[in-house]
Amino acid sequence: WASDQNVKMGFIVKKPEQAWFINEQRAATEMGEQMGFTVVRLAGEDGQQVLSAIDNLHSQGAQGFIICPPDVRLGPAILNRAKQYGMKVLTVDDQFVGADGKPMTEVPHLGMSGYKIGRQVGDAIAAEMQARGWNPEDVAALRISNNELPTARERTDGATDALLENGFDPDHIFDAPQQNTDTSSAFAAASPVFAKHGNFKHWVIYALNEESVLGGVRASEQYGLSADQVIGVGINGSGAAFAEFSRQQPTGFYGTIAVSSTMHGRQTAENLYNWITKGEKPPANTETSGTLMTRDNWQQVRQDLGL
């Protein structure tokens, strides 16, 4: 095993500008400072960049890396490269998929299942609908979709399935395909849906992240829907949600499924360190889950999850 002193590992993420991944990388770095190893933070926004990043790590003499791949099917190519250099690989958030279309279990993974998180969104919405006593006849769902991104599809599919299982009318679910994953593109996508279906009293809104749900909520306000007519539930637990919760007046953004990126970063870094130094291969698949964060409990949850 490599000696403890010069352990160096990479942390490659697919979207280096997103709060989620920034947190993850930062948590891993802090872990490294505590335990005495170096974490190199890199971006891999597409396959090309990932491979360059691995080459780069190899040049720096890193012994392994943690990666959230831009595409899960890059797994074989990435693993190949890593083996070539004798580097150890852990995946975080998104698990590699092999040529057979099944998850690659030989690479230890830690993350949440997009589909399951999506289900949590659907369940949260259903519960809140019940709590508010809405008649399912009057409720429509705005599904802000992004079919170009497989993870987005998993999440929205999960939410849709959970809603349907809770008795939601499938004919009341309307798609708003967005071009980007930010607020304004969600807003633009949602507008025509509200314009077209003015006959519903209540709306539920879900999407792949908080920003997009927020865009939908803003569009609903534009069409005169008030906060108590809308339930929007996001995913992540980032600044966008905190911004919304810290407003004086409640809005249609009811809550979000917060996931601890900090925990992901710390845990994977520690796992990889142990693997490198002690040869302990981490468990094949560690699934984490999210916590529903609402206006009432957001500060507490934020603290608990270390966001």
Partner: protein, 332 residues
Amino acid sequence: MTQEKTGMLQSPEGRRGLPKPIRALLDTSGLIAVFILLFIGLSVLVPDFFTGRNIVGLLLSVTLIGTIATTMMMVLALGEVDLSVASIVAFAGVVAAVVTSTSGSVLVGVLVGVAAGGAVGAFNGFVVARFGVNSLIATLAAMEFVRGLAYITSGGDAVMITVPGFFDLGTLSFLGLTLPVWTMIACFVIFGVMLNFTAFGRNVLATGGNAEAASLAGVNVRRLRITVFALQGIVAGVAGVLLTSRMGLGDPNTSQGLELAVISACVLGGVSLSGGVASITGVLVGVLIMGCVQNAMGLLNVPTFYQYLVRGAILLLAVMFDRWKQSRRSRA
């Protein structure tokens, strides 16, 4: 301005029979005709398209592109291009959010946000005018740099705004239209007037048509360039601040790819990329065509993948139709 142009054309032999306004319309601008046909077509064919609330929503959804397209028109008329607008939108929005939250004053936040946009624009103009750096490459550099600044300012995460007054900006409404829409309308009016009725605007067109000639005729080309880029920065800054207030958060990731959408709206509206030719009605029509198509696709529930095809095809067809009109006209 459009009327003026019609006046210059020797009336061609053909289509004498048509009533004068229609003839003039077809002659001056094929694109307006395209738009009107498109609009009528959509109103008839797409359910819910021609309803008050959809039109309001449509207007709101084009505010960002529309507002920035007015100054992009000036930049293109000057024979330059600005790729940094999307980054400026993000940066100004983030700055406004941060400053508002720390200072507690909406006014200060808005002013600093807009000023940040203006500063980036002026810097672009300075680099282009003073060092003669190609504007495409200068603003490409600015696009990267300023996006980086936006991330650094915000720490990478969306910035929340603690002062409630800030949200009112985006929702303030008058005659049924909100402030962002009014801002867009104001920009169209201001820059339309500026382009056509002020010496400044005419000098911009002259410089775009032949910079050397303008400089020889005593136009201060350098100052003109800096001013136009600064205006572009200010307007992008305003758009960014309004977006932030409308969305309730300063998002450093916002509006990626906006620059290409804005430029295509302008070019669709007949603005020449080589400078010297621009019309505010053209830009308006370009923005509206793009907005209507996007909106109608949403109403018709066109699958995302096909939306790409439709957008590409519409852009190509509109420009080809315009070329065809022009060659017809010049042949007549």
